[in-house]
């Protein structure tokens, strides 16, 4: 089989329901105002289901359910919660193709990525946090012979999670797994561009999760996201998105004195030192793939390596080869296993990318390949496709400074190590970066000098659960992945205990 049948077609691995209500307290709940919105697939632009258009009333109902469930859930043993997370992972593993199909159909990404990356990573994420919570220990400090400070981890209670649309299931799992492992109940709002796939995930695992522990409220940001993010009834807000909404969520959180974690994107440099081309070998081939990673997930990745910095000594040769590699990217039907790049997630995303292709050329950047909307045949004509695009320009241009969130890389040369670091750090953001070199010292120095939360070194776009992910500078606050993520979902309880019967003598 080279092409998966679309959801609902004969022989398809899954089908979507025609309509999704909210998932509250372990059951579907119709929106209080009775309104729904249409959910199109970016593959064809055609609506495939409708989804509840939630409002503050629905958020309150979900918070009621979460608060009802949180105390008992928070008291379950780590072993019990880990067991549930592992069973969720097992259930997902038994349904990899169905989940991958759901994710690709809703988001537009090629199914080979969903099969090889999104869903396996999501499964592993549950297993990782199942293990992490079992291994986590509190601590004690022996203050003196009579006094001991005990430190316990306690869940926060009910947390709000607002999920982006670029990896609808994986990004939900990045937030859900640590929150659930730590013993929190969740009210989750998926992105309005991708509201249904997480419901399909829930349909597979609903019997494993106690009612009210995970609640899903759909709707638009202003109608459902805002009442959730500004609610005094949530103990924490986790958000992935852009800077203005990130700031607004911080403002709401400040009114309630609640913590936030924010992942707000980047403009990640991918640096190729001269010695990358010192031999025509596997490593050079890997580096060229590393360059081409800008097209992974249609460039809709917060860490898209969207600025390629290539040292002057091999600039022309490496860039020529990179252009050739990019031209071999197969664009096509996202459900075709040979397709490497699919559809952008929405029409407005497509329009934004095209606006950047326009201003990039106005600023004098040169298009080396791509640069236009991709005309696709047949049913794909109504979808949102962009040709993988390489710009050549300089770091002052808007296309070097703002996240396009499309399959667009902006290339510039650099002269020296210092030059590379200066350009790499001349950005408002600091989420990801790539360093490619055969010299271990250069790799180490560059990795430490780049102001970004993750520096992939001789690799790119790997997302293991056991490596911390998050941003410096404007890219946000806090981390995701890694056991340290548990800290973002736990309170520290200190019992300071005296075992002495003697008074201090003050009074």
């Amino acid at each position: 089989m080279t092409r998966y049948a679309a959801p609902g077609e004969p022989g398809a691995k899954m089908s979507y329901l025609p309509r999704y209500d909210h998932w509250i307290g372990g059951e579907f709940v119709a929106p209080a105002l009775g309104r729904y919105f249409e959910n199109p697939t970016p593959v064809t632009g055609q609506t495939f289901c409708e989804v509840a258009r939630g409002t503050a009333e629905d958020i309150e109902r979900a918070l009621d359910a979460a608060h009802a469930a949180a105390p008992a859930w928070g008291r379950t043993s780590a072993a019990e919660r880990a067991g549930i997370l592992n069973r969720i992972a097992d259930r997902m593993e038994a349904n990899v193709e169905a989940l991958a199909l759901a994710e690709s159909w809703e988001n537009g990404k090629p199914i080979r990525e969903s099969l090889a990356a999104d869903i396996p990573l999501a499964i592993d994420h549950f297993r990782y946090f199942a293990g992490a919570i079992r291994a986590q220990e509190g601590s004690l400090s022996e203050i003196d012979d009579d006094t001991v400070a005990y430190h316990f981890h306690e869940p926060l209670g009910v947390v709000a999670q607002i999920i982006p649309w670029n990896f609808p299931i994986l990004m939900a799992v990045w937030k859900l797994a640590p929150a659930l492992a730590a013993g929190n109940a969740v009210v989750l709002k998926p992105a309005e561009q991708t509201p249904a796939s997480v419901h399909f995930w829930m349909s597979l695992v609903e019997d494993l999760i106690p009612p009210g522990v995970v609640n899903i409220v759909n709707g638009f940001g202003v109608e459902a996201g805002k009442p959730l993010a500004s609610s005094a009834r949530v103990a924490k807000v986790a958000f992935t998105g852009e800077t203005t909404t990130g700031r607004l969520i911080m403002q709401y959180a400040s009114e309630n004195i609640k913590p936030v974690t924010l992942e707000l994107g980047g403009k990640s440099p991918n640096i190729f030192f001269d010695d990358v081309s010192a031999a025509d070998d596997d490593f050079l081939d890997k580096a060229l793939e590393g360059f081409t990673m800008f097209a992974l997930n249609q460039g809709e990745v917060c860490t898209c390596p969207s600025r390629a910095l290539i040292q002057e000594g091999h600039y022309s040769d490496f860039l020529d080869a990179a252009v050739e590699r990019t031209r071999t990217i197969v664009q096509g039907h996202p459900l075709d296993l040979t397709t490497m790049i699919g559809a952008q997630a929405s029409n407005d995303q497509l329009e934004k990318i095209l606006s950047y292709l326009d201003i990039g050329q106005q600023e004098g950047a040169k298009i080396l390949t791509g640069g236009v909307r991709a005309d696709m045949p047949g049913e794909l004509a109504g979808g949102y496709y962009v040709e993988p695009t390489i710009f050549e320009g300089n770091n002052a241009m808007r296309i070097f400074q703002e996240e396009i969130f499309g399959p667009v890389v902006s290339v510039a040369p650099f002269a020296s190590y210092d030059d590379a670091i200066r350009i790499a750090n001349d950005t408002l953001y600091g989420l990801g970066a790539g360093v490619w070199t055969r010299d271990a010292t250069t790799a180490y120095r560059a990795g430490r000098a780049i102001q970004a939360g993750r520096v992939w070194t001789n690799c790119y776009h790997a997302y293991p659960a056991h490596a911390a992910f998050g941003g410096y500078k404007g890219s946000g606050i806090g981390r995701e992945n890694h056991k340290m993520m548990l800290d973002h979902y736990q309170q520290t309880k200190n019992l300071l205990v005296s075992y002495s019967a003697k008074k201090l003598g003050f009074f």
């Binding site: 940001g221 326009d358 408002l428």
Partner: protein, 146 residues
């Protein structure tokens, strides 16, 4: 608190500048009128970063708290609206965008963020062009070097 950028036109007439930094298409003006009628005075804050970054986010005036880290690029006069729509951007982002003129347009879309127009099935979108030499001169803008 509401700083004007140094490069901004005369601040005493922000709504009638000789050289504007921001324009609005007729289609976007229609949406603004609809939102104004339903909600009241409006503002934009230009977003950056991932997902729906680069989109101008439209809020009730004052919903998003601007401060010393922001600059006001314009106060947009829209026919049929009593109050101008203020247009804001983070100061550090403005340093990187200031050489371009922005036009607020609108396209069909799903939205995201907390922008007011999303439930209408449309999204505001920024289209850009370079400032002309005369505009840069009038605005006192000096492009930063890479």
């Amino acid at each position: 608190m509401q700083d004007q950028p140094e490069q901004q036109e005369r601040p005493e007439q922000p709504d009638q500048p000789e050289v504007s930094r921001v324009a609005v298409t007729p289609a976007a003006a229609d949406v603004l009128r609809t939102l104004h009628a339903a909600n009241g005075p409006l503002m934009f804050h230009q977003s950056g970063g991932c997902c729906d970054g680069s989109s101008p986010m439209c809020y009730l005036e004052g919903e998003f708290r601007t401060g010393g880290s922001d600059v006001q690029l314009a106060a947009l006069r829209i026919d049929g609206m009593a109050e101008p729509v203020t247009f804001w951007m983070s100061r550090d982002q403005f340093e990187r965008w200031g050489h371009t003129h922005l036009t607020v347009d609108v396209v069909p879309g799903r939205g995201s963020g907390f922008s007011l127009e999303a439930p209408e099935g449309v999204r505001f979108l920024i289209r850009s062009r370079l400032l002309t030499a005369a505009e840069s001169e009038a605005l006192g803008w000096h492009t930063r070097q890479s």
